[in-house]
Subunit: 450 residues, 2 copies
């Protein structure tokens, strides 16, 4: 499904910004993680409501040459060279058209391995008033490159249905052909705005950043790492307010919620697949999340973040949905119409929550294994970031109580595993228009426990 | 006055963090802006409640050699060399003692110009479990260096009372002595965590950042620039709630408030000192700031930031202080006891406001001339950042209505100019314990219009 297009005039804070448009130009040999970086940047920016789109030159090239062999990428293969240039031309033309229609940040995913090619892209963008930010991924860590090659040969459409060994060999030959002409970004190009990432963030060089939006993209990219790790998500155990069908507040756990807290250490252990490792535990500052984390191993670090507190329901805090509908019928209606953007009187919207979660996402990107015990709306937003969920849908996800979710980011997407505690709890999911205290999710609801 | 010491266990979000302690080691020839960077970093971190302190080796050296000539800094001057090493030793010893007492981020301000010296500092810190982050300021822009030299010879205690021309010449000789032994951070030191800033942020290299706190310091430092610019601050014009003595809300301007909005363009023009330049205008999303900015030149960009909205007074929104005291006597009392940390029920504290203002400060650091029309508490927090105001005091500052404040950051501090509109308005300042709707500030109140 096509993602709903985020609105133009926003800087991720829901406010108008100056008319900056940026073309992020990836630079690097094959198997340097360019596409991974491009996809992550797109996902992050869209999560912040910044209209972003990857233009992958390989996809354009494949229209004419679906499964070319390494020879195709030899500089002496004139026909191959012509077709690759045509693909770049087509991608850039589409991209500039997309900017004319109001796009904010395009990511041009290709090797862009020569100074000439980079200059050409800059000139095309300059002419349209689009800024360029070159992002070069360099890597001399052989192990990293090999694991990328392995990933590519098993996932690239260029090698579908081919013998894996032959594919890997062909891909190494392709890289060798690129190496012949590859020019790293250097002093001669010091007029370019660029970010050079060496060995996935071990070292970065940043040149001539011009404005705030560029600096945000750069800050995000420089915080990425690719160490294997997982993120565990859980809501607090069932609270008394859950039982009463009230929202917000700072209630204690119910008895069943306490039982979940006692069970959580085992549930986490079950998720370890044999590899025991200490986790860092993040909770909100509200007592129901702190109580839920209390039986986890003492030697695990625990942090409390106010940024993980539940969505602030303002004047509706501590009310049931029936009371809200009774007292604020227009608000009740408006929220169901546009749950993502609706801001409670004196409180927050999902959009507001995403903005306050941004430092959390940034720290998650920097971190390794983290267990987060938080609240329904917060978990929905964090989940939406990792799983690329649509903003229209994420506020309606069913996140059951007493369930542990383990997310493991991979090169192309995020794996999800679910561990259920088998301790009953009320449902806190609510359908559009409903004022029921507890109801079962509809058939077509996306549930995070399935 | 000594600043109140911010608490140990905080990451600027008011939550516990892991026990990271960082020594930021400045590296660079004289007149490269090291002390400026060190002072700014200290101010920023303290504003975020992170305990930070600059240790300036020159101050230790001056105890024994108050006004040395350039010869003192010649590597062949053994006595000078010995004294400079003793000063470094004393500063590092004091610093490590400070860390033992719970300090979070020390900034060691000295040239630290040789690899040997840097290695020595790293080993001393390693032994105490303190991380090191080397920050090298390199500069080959002669104009920039000369303006720094000019600044130094007029402000450095080394040259107090000396002939300016002679001082400048001596200082250039001192730099030449340092240049003889200066070693830039290079490949041989790739095990160090470092940030290399070339020509004040035009280009930066970041190596081996290890954790979140380091990444925040680096992000701040890489956003600094030293172009000459000013920041204009104004509250909205008098609102109806100001007149009624109510807090919060989203009221319209009073007639006098409207008059201030009409007057504001002239007031800004008056502050230009002849140099006319377009400003970018930031307001909050509340109607009283937007209305106040409405008569400013059409061609100036205007942005609305939710982050500039007034401190959220939660359940007390739209109430007078008398009503608050009546309805929530304990809260009224608690707030006066510790106004910086008191969080309104369902609302915010000054500490919370500082955290949401951080992106604003970051963008201000990146920007040039900005006019901010905002609210009393927000203005107090922004002012506290630029003027290094104590957190205990900043919530009690008197910020009169109908007054334009122009702040101009200089190398050592921030200049303040005040322009009064001569349009009467109520006072919204409130003394401890008072429930008056309008009262005059006490004699000893710090007023931003004086």
């Amino acid at each position: 499904m096509e993602l709903a297009r985020p609105s133009r005039k926003t800087n991720g804070k829901g406010v108008q910004v100056e008319d900056t448009q940026i073309c992020v130009v990836m630079v690097g040999l094959p198997a340097r993680g360019k596409s991974l970086i491009a996809q992550k940047a797109q996902r992050y920016l869209r999560w912040l409501s910044i209209d972003a789109r990857v233009f992958n030159v390989g996809n354009y090239r494949r229209k004419d040459a679906a499964q070319p062999s390494a020879d195709f990428f030899d500089v002496n293969n004139l026909e191959g060279e012509r077709m690759r240039r045509a693909a770049a031309e087509a991608a850039v033309t589409d991209m500039l058209k997309w900017f004319k229609d109001g796009g904010i940040i395009a990511i041009l995913d290709a090797t862009n391995s020569t100074k000439k090619r980079r200059r050409w892209i800059k000139e095309r963008c300059d002419k349209e008033g689009v800024e360029t930010l070159f992002v070069e991924s360099k890597c001399d860590d052989e192990e990293l490159i090999m694991s990328n090659i392995l990933e590519v040969k098993t996932t690239s459409p260029d090698y579908v249905g081919q013998d894996p060994e032959e594919a890997a060999q062909d891909f190494r030959n392709r890289i060798r052909n690129y190496e012949k002409v590859y020019e790293t970004i250097d002093e001669e190009e010091s007029d370019l705005t660029y970010l050079k990432i060496m060995n996935v963030g071990k070292r970065v060089i940043i040149n001539a950043i011009q404005d705030y939006l560029q600096s945000r993209v750069v800050y995000y990219l420089m915080n990425l790492h690719i160490k294997q790790r997982s993120i565990w998500l859980s809501r607090h155990g069932e609270s008394m307010w859950n039982v009463y069908g009230k929202i917000g507040g700072d209630a204690k756990l119910s008895e069943r919620g306490e039982a979940y807290a006692r069970k959580l250490p085992d549930l986490v252990k079950e998720s370890f697949d044999g590899n025991d490792h200490p986790l860092t535990v993040w909770t909100s500052t509200l007592q129901r999340t702190i109580a839920t984390a209390q039986h986890l191993p003492q030697e695990w670090n625990q942090l409390q973040w106010k940024a993980l507190d539940e969505l602030d329901s303002g004047v509706c805090d501590n009310m049931t949905y029936a009371e809200i509908k009774e007292e604020y019928p227009e608000d009740f209606e408006a929220r169901d119409q546009d749950k993502y953007n609706y801001r409670y009187r004196g409180g927050e919207s999902y959009r507001d929550v995403v903005i306050r979660l941004e430092p959390i996402i940034m720290e998650l990107e920097r971190s390794e294994n983290i267990l987060i015990v938080t609240h329904q709306a917060i978990l929905r937003c964090i989940y939406a970031y990792f799983m690329n969920e649509d903003q229209e849908k994420s506020p309606w996800l069913n996140v059951p109580l007493h369930t542990l979710i383990k997310l493991t980011p991979r090169a192309y997407g995020t794996d999800r595993q679910v561990y259920k505690a088998a301790i009953p709890a009320v449902s806190t999911w609510r359908g559009k228009g409903s004022v029921a205290k507890h109801e079962d999710p509809l058939e077509d609801t996306t549930s995070l426990d399935k």
